[in-house]
């Protein structure tokens, strides 16, 4: 595994890794926001039942 090659992607490193970084941010963001929504609901439901 040639790490320097992997990083530069034949000179296209910015585009390739930029794409995957964006994907990570969007997908990760969706998951995080969803978990936050779930947590908030659990909170609210506890408050309601008090």
């Amino acid at each position: 595994m040639d790490w320097s090659n992997a990083l530069s992607m034949g000179g296209y490193g910015f585009y390739v890794w930029g794409s995957y970084l964006t994907s990570l941010i969007l997908i990760g963001g969706e998951v995080l926001l969803l978990l936050r929504r779930k947590r908030k609901l659990r909170q609210d439901s506890q408050d309601l039942h008090d």
């Binding site: 034949g10 296209y12 585009y15 964006t22």
Partner: protein, 246 residues
Amino acid sequence: MSHRKFNWYKYASPAAFYPLAGKLVPWFAIPAALLFIVGLYVGFVIAPTDAQQGDAYRIIFIHVPAAWMGMLLYVLMAVYAAIGWAFNARLASMMASSLAITGAMFTFLSLVTGSLWGKPTWGTWWVWDARMTSTLILLFLYIGFISLQSAIDDARRADRAGAVLAVVGVINVPIIYFSVQWWNTLHQGATIRILNKPSMAPPMLAAMLIMVAACWLYSIAVVLVRLRCIILEREQNAALIASAST
């Protein structure tokens, strides 16, 4: 011989589906994560460098799955919304609302990755070709659906209004796509750039299909989790309204 008929209809109620959805999520989430890892490994380590596009082509391993998911989820959203409207099935409508956000996310992702793929291969950040333009319009359709549902307070009205919009939208998608193709050929004078997939060596195709499967499983998991949230939220709203009126 006696048959014990499995009554699927009992899961049509949100309250009954809620625990089932909860049990299903890990069965989709964990394989999704594994497939992401496998797909990226095949795509980056095993698949060779492309002759024409160099290593830039490796963006397709996320761009193409994202684009497909964006389109697939829109159709599914419209189908569920229509079912919810036609059969007065609340759960189906909630499913449509849940699908919308993930679909919009993937559509946006496909636009960004498409742009990042276009710049090194074709020289510009944005290409007004039929596919990219149609994807942009698809994003607008998602935004319209989500905005409409956010603007309506009453859940059932939001469900049904969304269904009308989704059905009108899904019927119009072929017309819109055709008109964009038409528009593209009309303006032939300007340079046409088509983002072409490179001719696919088997590892490339394998990686792409694995990533599609990964995105598919991921979508199911995320949509189910969001569906559970929607079910809870509506229950809470109903409880609030009930307690306010006593």
